[in-house]
């Protein structure tokens, strides 16, 4: 929770005057980074789980997927809210947005697969396969939507390209916020993992006692 306080501290003193809505980027971009980091962790966890069949990797994959879906949802929502004053539209279909949507859909499917699987272990295996497939698919989706956009350049309203000018002060704030969000991510994943441990412990106690 201390990391959250640090987040607030960055926000209050270091205020950029370059347009008020710019500040949304300090939340939106780090959310995108840790969303991607979360799905990378899911991929690593899935591969290690299928390779070593050890339980902690599966718990890590599940925790990272849940936090990742949360962060991706927030990223999409904050992105839309940011887009409205800046670009004038809530949503466009440019490559990054489309890829983010597909990403979100794939990992929501991942979590649903875990929920719908017949047993916990089988669900872990299926979800590990889905995690690997989804992560491998991400660069392909990105590339294909870029190709798609070069064919159809002018969508609903074609926005201008991203504000690419980062002077050093903004960059430090952005990096700092990315760091705090990463710490937040690690904290949330640890919490979720502790939950999985508690659940496993209950299962083991119940099995030992013979009550189900």
């Amino acid at each position: 929770m201390i990391t959250n306080l640090a987040l607030i501290f960055f926000w209050a003193p270091t205020e950029m005057v370059m347009g008020l809505v710019q500040k949304v980027l300090y939340v939106h971009v780090p959310l995108a980074w840790i969303g991607f980091l979360a799905f990378f962790v899911v991929f690593i966890g899935s591969v290690m789980y299928l390779w070593k069949k050890a339980q902690p990797w599966d718990g890590l994959a599940q925790a990272a997927a849940e936090v990742g879906v949360l962060c991706t949802t927030l990223m999409l929502v904050t992105g839309a809210i940011w887009a409205k004053p800046v670009w004038g539209v809530w949503w466009t279909w440019d490559p990054r947005l489309t890829t983010s949507t597909i990403l979100w859909l794939m990992y929501v499917g991942y979590l649903m697969l875990r929920g719908y699987a017949p047993s916990r272990e089988q669900g872990a295996r299926y979800a590990a396969v889905m995690g690997i497939v989804a992560f491998v698919n991400v660069p392909i989706v990105y590339y294909s939507t870029i190709l798609w956009r070069t064919v159809h350049p002018e969508m609903v309203i074609g926005p201008a390209s991203e504000t690419g000018n980062l002077d050093s002060q903004m960059r430090t704030v952005l990096l700092f916020s990315a760091l705090t969000f990463t710490l937040l991510f690690v904290y949330l994943v640890k919490e979720r993992l502790a939950l999985t441990c508690a659940y496993d412990r209950i299962l083991s106690i119940r099995h030992k006692e013979g009550i189900y």
Binding site: L105, M106, G109, R125, Y126, V129, I132, Y143, S144, W148
Partner: protein
């Protein structure tokens, strides 16, 4: 080589024999795709100007959803009398089973698409006599069947399996749908200049996912 190729052909042969008796999957894909073609002709009225815009989209959306329905049918067949356990008892490696089932599903989809694509051309008054169209169709079907087989095997043991299959399959097959639609559109427009990008994308997708699915199929089929 024989230990690899012959079991694949035998597994595919089993699926084909089953299918020839009931013609279940083939009829499902064909009828559903035709129905969607008809419905789309009411939704997007195909005039001479916009038919090149809407034909590839409706064609590939129909084939995608019909394919999902066809995979659902094959899922039901798998689970029904314990086919999957019988397959697991075969003394072959798991990727052989994967390639056998993939070959079967691919042949079902191709045999349906042989009828669907010309019928769409007739319904929408478009000429498809070009060498690029079969290439795109075959590559797309390979990719779709590759991921479809993997996800069918995942969903066969899940609750509400007919809902899980589209949810898992459709986001993952977005690249091939995009590539197929754009490739078909650039052929129909008469300017097949940029088409090698789409073909490359399709081929890359096929190769990547065939290999990946072959590796992970063992984990999916375990008890």
């Amino acid at each position: 080589m024989n230990y690899f190729l012959i079991p694949i052909l035998q597994i595919a042969y089993k699926d084909i024999i089953l299918e020839l008796r009931t013609k279940d999957i083939f009829v499902t894909i064909l009828i559903f795709a035709l129905l969607m073609g008809v419905i789309f002709s009411f939704v997007f009225v195909p005039t001479k100007q916009n038919v090149v815009l809407i034909l590839p989209g409706t064609l590939w959306v129909s084939i995608t959803f019909a394919g999902v329905l066809g995979f659902n049918r094959s899922l039901v067949l798998e689970k029904d009398k314990g086919n999957l356990d019988g397959l697991l008892l075969c003394p072959v490696t798991r990727d052989v089973i994967y390639f056998g089932k993939f070959l079967g599903l691919f042949l079902f989809m191709i045999s349906a698409e042989i009828f669907i694509v010309p019928l769409y051309a007739v319904l929408y008054n478009v000429s498809i006599l070009d060498v690029g169209i079969p290439v795109i169709v075959i590559l797309t079907t390979i990719g779709f069947a590759a991921v479809g087989t993997l996800f069918s095997a995942i969903c066969v043991n899940t609750r509400s399996r007919e809902v899980m299959l589209p949810i898992l399959l459709l986001p993952v097959s977005v690249p091939i749908i995009v590539a197929a639609v754009e490739g078909t559109r650039s052929i129909l427009e008469g300017s097949p200049v940029g088409i090698e990008r789409w073909v490359q994308l399709l081929a890359a997708f096929d190769v990547i996912f065939l290999v990946l699915a072959a590796f992970t199929f063992g984990a999916v089929l375990e008890e």
